[in-house]
């Protein structure tokens, strides 16, 4: 039977094109959504982590309820850290926003201090040497290119207030550094100078933006972390968070991406709809394929294929289609996302974009795609086993709706419609997508299963409108409902398509009008 199934797929490949496309699109959508999620997290993690990538632990100031404000990291904290056992190098980061002039052009930038131990500096030196005195400054490569600076060029530093007074501090570029991909620093020029210089321009009330440290050889990072936390508690200092680089990165990323999980949920909802439609298309296609092959199936039963072999043959066809289409779908998703990320990297603001294809994205895409295709073919496969060998010798008889199977289908359909409808209503009232989506899916599947209840009467009613066309009209009207099962099945395909299009367009129009209303309202306030 494997032979028969494979021969079918190979020789009638064109019949499987539409099904394969449906699976490809649904799987591609799912995989792309998961890749977007993992890529945005990875992009942010990588870039945010740049700010302290050479450190072992990072201390940052937290918001303290009792003080109604942020703790300030200053020299007290730094000496506590320096005095702690297991701490080898310490880097108290101080930054200031400054203006600097080069050849008459004025630019803004961030001036950061360099650490005592250059190993903690998060960026690499590309040319020259780090500033060794109060008259030297290091500039990032992008800014150097933009402003035509090189080692030995000079520039004048000032703040907003100083410019008016015309007092510029002259500094000589001693090094060109690699550009940091930290999104907080991108876009502006990144300059580094000795701490004494930076302290002149930094806001003293603000303190250090973070304290980074490297642990000594042989010391465990976790142990040092706990020791420091204990030390701060003993000193009565609140609001200092001691985190590993990974913890700090995740913390910052989470504060950035609070909204992106919402986006993922919405995209996954669309992916779920795509998968449902795909399942319906697969089921419909295989039903048609089985119906077209009634005589051949009957012949096989005559020659001695048992029901299990027949069912397996249909499932093998579905498996082949599922595997091929899922692989293609995942491939298309990866290709598309690669192209998008490559494009994003050419834009400076999003230059930190990275492509992260998580194993989950690939596994989910392949797994869901294959499982979906095979499961959707289960019902048509069972129908195939119901073909009697006699059908090879005389035309098959139509299944009447009065049979037990027909009634069971109708009952389950009604249950799904009502149950799903209630869920949908509940979800709509409480504005919860996670309740409404399954409700929508269940009720829609239920309506499709009850198709034979309402579609033939509707078609008959519309058919009566064709009566004025004479005999062809009357024939058409009668033929349309001659076989209620067939009418319902054919109409289902159209029903799915129209429902999907209407739903998407209604959703788009609703979001647009909601957005416009929100926009005009907020404009009125400004």
């Amino acid at each position: 039977m494997l032979q028969v199934a494979l021969a079918q797929v190979r020789l009638n490949a064109r019949r499987f094109i539409a099904v394969s496309l449906a699976v490809m699109i649904a799987v591609g959508f799912l995989t792309a959504t998961l890749i977007i999620n993992s890529s945005s997290k990875a992009s942010l993690t990588q870039s945010i982590g740049e700010g302290f990538r050479n450190a072992d632990l990072v201390l940052t100031a937290q918001y303290v309820e009792e003080d109604q404000g942020f703790t300030v990291l200053d020299d007290d904290e730094v000496s506590l850290v320096r005095g702690s056992s297991g701490v080898a190098e310490t880097y108290a980061v101080r930054a200031a926003y400054i203006l600097f002039n080069t050849d008459g052009a004025s630019s803004s930038g961030q001036l950061t201090n360099i650490p005592d131990d250059p190993s903690l500096l998060p960026v690499e030196v590309q040319e020259g040497n780090l500033p060794a005195g109060p008259d030297e400054v290091a500039v990032d490569g992008a800014t150097a290119d933009r402003l035509d600076l090189s080692v030995g060029s000079s520039l004048g530093i000032s703040t907003q207030q100083d410019t008016a007074a015309g007092e510029d501090r002259e500094l000589v570029v001693s090094a060109i550094l690699a550009e940091s991909r930290d999104p907080l620093m991108m876009g502006a020029a990144q300059l580094y100078a000795e701490d004494a210089v930076v302290a002149e321009y930094a806001d003293p009330e603000y303190g250090f933006s973070s304290i980074q440290l490297g642990v000594s050889d042989g010391a465990a990072v976790r142990a040092v972390q706990t020791d420091l936390e204990q030390a701060f508690a003993d000193a009565g200092t609140r609001g200092v968070a001691v985190r590993t680089v990974e913890e700090q990165t995740n913390y910052t990323v989470d504060s950035f991406t609070g909204g992106s999980d919402q986006l993922t949920i919405v995209l996954l909802a669309f992916a779920a709809v795509a998968l449902l439609v795909c399942a319906l298309v697969v089921s419909n296609t295989f039903s048609v394929l089985v119906a077209q092959r009634t005589r051949e199936l009957a012949l096989l039963r005559c020659i001695g294929a048992d029901r299990a072999q027949i069912r397996r043959s249909v499932m093998v066809e579905a498996l082949v289609v599922g595997v091929v289409a899922s692989i293609l779908g995942v491939g298309v998703a990866i290709g598309l996302m690669s192209a998008i990320v490559a494009y994003l990297r050419t834009i400076p603001e999003s230059g930190f974009a990275t492509l992260a294809v998580s194993p989950l994205a690939v596994a989910a895409g392949l797994g869901v795609g294959i499982l979906l295709t095979v499961l959707s073919a289960l019902v048509p496969a069972r129908a195939a086993t119901a073909v009697s060998p006699l059908a090879a010798l005389r035309p098959a008889e139509d299944v009447r709706a009065g049979t037990r199977k027909g009634r069971a289908r109708l009952v389950s359909g009604l249950v799904l419609t009502v149950g799903g409808g209630l869920l949908l209503g509940a979800g709509a009232v409480s504005a919860n997508l996670l309740i409404a989506l399954p409700g929508g899916i269940l009720s829609f599947v239920g309506i499709l299963m009850c198709g034979t209840l309402f579609i033939p009467p509707l078609v008959r009613a519309v058919g009566s409108l064709a009566a004025p066309l004479g005999v062809p009209g009357k024939l058409a009207a009668v033929n349309a409902i001659r076989n209620p099962q067939r009418t319902a099945a054919t109409s289902s395909a159209l029903l799915i398509g129209v429902t999907l299009v209407t739903m998407m367009m209604t959703g788009a129009a609703t979001s647009r009008s909601a957005f416009e209303e929100h926009w005009t309202r907020s404009i009125r306030w400004t």
Partner: protein
């Protein structure tokens, strides 16, 4: 010579290729009830070529369907090769069809996506068995198919397709081969080829064949003709010729 004997009933017997006793079957209900088989008793000897004949609606096809296990009778008993098949479940009937029975239909005998050779060996493949290669070679040689084995059905003529179907039916050396108007769609030359091959398989290989037909010329190739009318067995002919068959049929109509 030709003799018209009364129908005889010897059910069972391990030498019979197929047999039926007190077979009854009706279709439909109420006004449209059709008594397809009325108390039919019949035995088919092993190693014989029998034709079942009768006018339309005589029940000959229904009889063959029941004998082959494709359809169930309302009452009565059926044997194939000494095994009673009346009470067999679907899975066992399927296995019986695979291993002990061969079929040749009027048309649509072959799986269109497989080659001739794959079609011939299909029952063996379904049983996960090994093909008897020398036997396969002998059959295809006798049927003149050796050069066509890698072709698909649509590349074969009608006569060649029917010969492939016959080869498939013979390969498993079944207890009985059933033919449902096997030459109905063929021209007289191809038809004659197929029928003489069937007769040769009975004479030379001892294959039992039961064929339903309405064509007197086709029936004349058989060793025995069984006549049916209105669901009943009404007569028999031994050593038929086209003329004697025609005469018997005309008498039925009278």
């Amino acid at each position: 010579m030709t003799t018209l004997t009364e129908h005889s009933s010897v059910p069972g017997g391990s030498t019979a290729a197929a047999a039926a006793a007190a077979l009854n079957k009706t279709y439909g209900s109420g006004d449209t009830t059709v008594h397809a088989l009325r108390n039919v008793d019949v035995t088919f000897e092993a190693g014989t070529f029998t034709a079942i004949m009768g006018p339309s609606g005589s029940g000959k096809s229904t009889l063959m369907h029941c004998l082959a296990g494709l359809d169930t009778a309302d009452s009565g008993r059926i044997w194939i090769g000494g095994t009673e098949i009346t009470a067999l479940k679907d899975a066992e009937l399927t296995r019986l069809r695979r291993d002990s029975v061969g079929f040749v239909f009027q048309s649509f005998n072959l799986v269109p996506t497989l080659t001739a050779e794959q079609n011939i060996t299909l029952p063996v493949a379904l049983a996960n068995g090994k093909v008897d290669r020398p036997w396969l070679a002998e059959i295809t040689d006798t049927l003149g198919l050796t050069g066509r084995l890698s072709h698909r059905p649509h590349e074969l003529s009608g006569g060649q397709q029917q010969r492939v179907a016959v080869a498939r039916a013979l390969l498993t050396r079944p207890h009985v081969v059933f033919g449902d108007e096997p030459t109905g769609n063929l021209d007289s030359k191809s038809g004659a080829e197929v029928l003489s091959l069937l007769r040769r398989s009975t004479r030379e290989m001892g294959q039992s064949i039961i064929m339903v037909t309405h064509d007197p010329v086709a029936a004349s190739y058989a060793d025995r003709v069984v006549l049916m009318n209105d669901g009943e067995l009404v007569g028999e002919l031994a050593q038929p010729t086209p003329e004697s068959v025609l005469a018997a049929l005309t008498k039925l109509g009278a």
